[in-house]
Amino acid sequence: MSKMDRRSFLRFGGLCVLGLGVLSGAEVLAEKQLKAAPASPALVGKKWAMVIDMKKCWEAGKGECRDCILACHRAHNVPDIANPKEEVKWIWTEPYEEVFLDQKQEYTAEGIQGKPFLVLCNHCDNPPCARVCPTKATFKREDGIVMMDYHRCIGCRFCMAACPFGARSFNFRDPRPLLPKLNPDFPTREMGVVEKCNFCAERLEAGALPLCVEACRQGALVFGDLEDGNSEVRTILRSRFTMRRRPELGTGPNVYYAI
């Protein structure tokens, strides 16, 4: 074998390195191709939002109806804990004065005083919970949903301190034994993680509306895309006076209340 001089050795080596680079690049490309295909029937939006017509809710339910809450909590395996310090909730009610703290005054209209308002995660434009999460377990999706990856949650509860709406609950114990009925199609949570409403991301991907919207027999809850000018939520926002919770904080809540 002839002796290789320095120049041809370097040239050969360089070609080898180049070849390796191309090979791994090709592998990456090939791998990407057989990954996820887009789901066809999914509901796609740019900025999901909800409008809750409290008048419809009160008139029909007379303050007793809990259809949306029960439907949500059953489907998402939310445990039923009576102790308010340990309770877990995705959607629940609070009196007007608690919901609209900044509107609290001595002479609130009688029809509104102490009335229960339906509250849930506001899926804020600028979610403080996602910003403070040290593991990025909470993140904002492109369609506006503030989503949780329970696999990543370490239970530090920074998000609970950051959320001005109290929309997050911590699992102080294993929630499974506390479930009235286990829905095998949706995971439960485990002890030591925080949880909250996910705007039914799993249902949107299957082409269905959020369960609370579907469960409400009065149609008091309306869900839709704020970026779509013809969506039902935009139609209501154009025609009705609506309020958001604590807009002065700048989190940009996406749940609107029509009164």
Binding site: L34, A36, A37, P38, A42, D143, N183, D185, E190
Partner: protein
């Protein structure tokens, strides 16, 4: 060599002790895990094919599950296209466990044998003795 007797006997005891697991277990091989595939759901399939080939699934199911987790939770993609073009919903409960409903005879077989303790079941619901 000074103290040859005590040094050599000490070495002997040391060797016996350190090789204890080997000679104690000679001839007593543990039974190989036998994951069972004969669930009713699998028996009804005309073509018995998982989302990947058997050797791939055996070696890489944990990586695949982790990819599925990222796709579903973080990217919101719930449809997986397998190498053969067939599409599957990305879901542990609705896809994997529909066929492999026998966690105790399937998952636990190897996991117990290898002393692997995945924490999937803390949250995901294992099907009950299907």
């Amino acid at each position: 060599m000074y103290n040859a007797r005590s040094i050599l006997s000490g070495l002997g005891v040391f060797l016996v002790l350190i090789t204890f697991p080997f000679w104690y277990n000679v001839g007593k091989s543990a039974a190989a895990p036998e994951p069972k595939l004969d669930t009713p759901a699998i028996q009804q399939l005309s073509r018995k094919q998982c989302v990947g080939s058997t050797p791939y699934m055996r070696a890489n199911h944990m990586q695949l599950l982790e990819e599925w987790r990222t796709l579903a939770v973080r990217e919101g993609k719930r449809v997986y296209e397998a190498a053969d073009g067939k599409k599957y919903e990305i879901s542990l409960e609705k896809t994997c466990l529909k066929c492999h409903g026998n966690k105790a005879q399937f998952c636990d077989q190897c996991h117990n044998s290898l002393s692997v303790k995945p924490d999937c079941w803390n949250c995901h619901v294992a099907p009950e003795g299907r």
